[in-house]
């Protein structure tokens, strides 16, 4: 059952049989040519916010974005230093349990924390997940250009883990800090079969719906902490 597929497609085709009006369709701009004939991704890179070529450049832009977004961004030189930051947060916020998924950096962090772990990757109980004050995940990448955390089901424990607990902590390795949005989508496509879900998380959940005043933690996490392990 696909409804009015045939009729709609026929109407679309009939409509487009009449060419675009030249007073409206301006296809002769330099940018239009770049999109049509050139390397469109290279063109986008000339227009989007600039990120320098080095790792230090990427770190600087990520940090600048994080400050604006109210993301806590920490660069540490060892997993142990990351564990110490997480332990301090858990203590300060009085975590009773932590949500996580089974993957290298995250496993070690949970072990170091010593709290009961709700493992999302094992098929979780919704209420148990909702009861966790914090969630720890990995990511596919950190995107410097926008200060985003790029997550997929395998890299960050599914769809819900990174959005349900009020404090989301992300652990990333040095190689995971990439330059820009085109690189993020390229990376996802290069990894083979696409997942059913991917998300660019940019700062803690937010809303401005009431009098256009910014409030964090609308539905998702109130706090986002990104720890880059430079090891």
């Amino acid at each position: 059952m696909n409804g009015s597929r045939t009729q709609i497609l026929a109407k679309v085709r009939a409509a487009l049989a009449v060419p675009n009006d030249p007073h409206v369709r301006h296809g002769d701009t330099a940018e239009a040519h770049m999109i049509r004939s050139g390397d469109r991704v290279a063109a986008m890179r000339q227009w989007l916010p600039l990120v320098g070529p080095s790792h230090e450049d990427r770190k600087a832009v990520f940090a600048e974005c994080s400050a604006k977004l109210k993301t806590r961004f920490e660069v540490v030189d060892s997993p142990a230093a990351a564990h110490a930051i997480i332990a301090a947060i858990a203590k300060e916020e009085g975590w009773q349990s932590v949500a996580a998924h089974a993957t290298g950096l995250v496993d070690a962090a949970c072990a170091a924390l010593g709290l009961p772990v709700v493992l999302a990757s094992a098929g979780y109980d919704k209420d148990a997940l909702a009861a966790c004050a914090g969630g720890i995940t990995g990511c596919l990448a950190l995107v410097a250009q926008t200060g985003s955390v790029f997550v997929t089901p395998n890299s960050a424990g599914g769809r819900a883990l990174s959005v349900i607990p009020p404090h989301h902590i992300v652990l990333a390795t040095r190689a995971q800090l990439i330059s820009d949005l085109p690189a993020a989508w390229e990376m996802l496509q290069a990894a083979g079969e696409l997942p059913s879900f991917a998300s660019l998380i940019t700062g803690p959940s937010r809303t401005g719906d009431i009098e256009r005043i910014l409030v964090l933690g609308a539905h998702g996490p109130k706090k986002l902490t990104v720890i880059l392990v430079e090891d």
């Binding site: 709609i8 239009a32 770049m34 986008m44 769809r159 959005v163 989508w185 009098e211």
Partner: protein, 474 residues
Amino acid sequence: MSETKIIPLQQFKHDSAEVAADGDRREFLRTALGGYMNTRTATQHGYQDWEAARSGAAEIKWEAIDRLPELLEQFEANLIKNGTKVFWASDEEEARQYILGILREKNAKHVIKSKTMTSEEIHLNSLLEAEGFDVVESDLGEYIVQQNKEAPYHFVFPCMHLKRAEIKAIFEKIAACPSDDPEALTMFARQQLREKYLRADVGISGGNFGIAETGHIAITENEGNARLTCAMPKVHIAIMGIEKMLPRLSDLSLLQPMLGTAGAGQRITCYNSIYGGPKKPGETDGPEEMHVVLLDNGRTTLLADPEQRDALRCIRCGACLNVCPIFKNIGGHSYGTTYQGPIGAVITPHYKGLQEFKHLAYASSLCGACTETCPVKIDLHHHLLRIRRNSVSEHPPLMEKVAMKGFAFAFTRPWLYHLGTPLARLGHWLSKPIQGTKLDPGYLWRKTRTLPDMPKESFHEWFEKREQQKKAGK
């Protein structure tokens, strides 16, 4: 939804005049949008070249329209490959019945919705509520207007007309709400809605883009409500217009940040997610079933217009509303349409009837602020002129036709036109006693504004006299 027949023109005239006379409400809207303008300008400066980005984005969306048939087929094929069910709906009734059918088949009771204007367009909530389903909007603004039993005021900022105290009063009807602080009000909604997510059987979302190349839908949001809507329930239904196609996944690199920047002044919004099918083997969570409803509902009519199909490239950022001096002075509800502001004035006559909604095209000073700001360069204010032209050639209003015939008659005869100057002067002086009264043909102007007296000498007369003096002097 009331069954009383509303005449769109009368409703518009009445409601717009009411808001225009409410200085306090207008000031509130202006202040709210003032902050947007500041952050947006600053964010645009963060791009290497925002203007070039606009041209590039415009071209990508043009490509999507030019190649629409093949992109729709490719999108559908990839959705199906990813295990998604695709349904094509010609009109709102077909879409409503399909969705209702799924809810019944799944024996669903609780439905959670993330912001989707397409579902507003097909009046889905009223149907589902009438059928006894528990339907809750999860976007904060949408939740508030749903609780207040009204339509979204602005298709991106649904409750921007409500002040904190009014929102508190709305919440008090649900449960005790201790404060009218925006933070506290947001936390109230968060708590109310969290439980709804955990219980929902079906999640209904919209879609900002459909990626033909991969068969994913892309959703741009800030709150995380769409993330939850697409994560927790066993069934996910996405409704989107057929014009939402993008050729490639990489096109998101440009369009998602621009949507956030134009829409809310952000470099990119908080969550930009793609969804392509139900949970795959090996994935942790996600729905067991995903449906995509592709909606026509007038879009192919607009597509058939070789000038105004341009408007199908809209990415619904709402920027044209935010800069529109008409919107700022009459608010969103005055429009009486699902899509407000300049873009609404352009597309609604195509979707719901030219003669019934042409007044929206006339209720514009044609200032062009919308066109100047549109991130995909839709020729918005010129389309308003084209709507005026089309409505007149289809059905010219009698009085105006007489006036315009008279205008053309007098103004194509320079001698008659110049004879008119002293006559108009005479008329002006003779009409002095009635000026400003309802007998005055200029009443609507003079009620709020003065009109200058007719000059004793027109420029034409001055120039003519001077030329003659010059000749005589020689």
